[in-house]
Symmetry: C2
Subunit: 206 residues, 2 copies
Amino acid sequence: MQNPPSLECWFEFGSNYSYLSVMRIEFLARDAGIPLVWKPFLLGPIFRDFGWESSPFVLQPAKGRYMWRDMEREAAKYDLPFRKPSVFPRLAVLPMRVAALGATEPWMGEFCRRVMRQNWVDDFDINAPHHVAAALEGLVADPQAILAAAQTDDNKLRLRGFTDEARDRGIFGAPTFFVGEEMFWGNDRLQDALAWAGRCAPASLL
Amino acid sequence: MQNPPSLECWFEFGSNYSYLSVMRIEFLARDAGIPLVWKPFLLGPIFRDFGWESSPFVLQPAKGRYMWRDMEREAAKYDLPFRKPSVFPRLAVLPMRVAALGATEPWMGEFCRRVMRQNWVDDFDINAPHHVAAALEGLVADPQAILAAAQTDDNKLRLRGFTDEARDRGIFGAPTFFVGEEMFWGNDRLQDALAWAGRCAPASLL
């Protein structure tokens, strides 16, 4: 018997539209009966491949101004709290390394939502070890041990591997969703990606 | 008594996501009781302001590959025919000048849908005078007279004026919708723009 198709969520803590998806996707996928696969990756190296030294929302001021207004409206649409961070885009290497380490762990979803809230609601420096530790509090037995494991060379390479895979698969922004080879870019396509996964499910599973 | 808020549709015949909106917007606005204001503008000068010599879908091949697949899916979602044009982005200065001339004319909507179909379904050179004339056929008494009027200096300046206004209002892509000062970028935001206009209508008109 075939497995149901899974939904891959490629995201970055520093990406504002990733916030809108990461806060919702675990619940939406669960309700739809679609297995969720977390795929944390770094957006910076992907942007640098295009010759961009920052986010397009910084490089194109008109687009940036629009994006912040759009974020207010979109967050309200999904009933998510939102406050424009005082720093954008925020460095997120440390929490991204924890996400790479924990991608298949049961605490991954809640950890990601906490880091996202720190960035997009609390305006915290999400790359600061004490904030990352706070996001792990109560989810793992020993947050400091997780931080240490996240910073090993092996785990740094794991996050780099995710980023290389993102590039190889043609990812150019975040969030991006995959259902098999079918790619969906942006929070605006999350529902389409879920619907696609639903249609791909073997009939015996529906 | 206040007028109901209008919905401005800023678009380009060469813009693929404009196709998805231009084919639908007149009917959606009419059904919602929202006055529609057509705002044709040239995207090329806006992109050149960013230092781009072509569409981002050409300059970023990964994004371009994704966009063509997304267009197939989106056109299917809206039940619109779609064929990837053999030339992208297509020059559209002549039909855009006709659109600038006819922006407030009753034939504007159907003319725009015909030019869009020529580009995104028939794969015609939409800048060729005979194709522009064909798109006017049956809508105006004398298509050749409209083509001549579209090419006067006054009308060239009218299109340039729309483009300057687009830049001044912070437009960075197409389609873009405005309801008063509220801006919505992309076909994905058309329903939100319509809903916004509906909420802004004076209660006496609802």
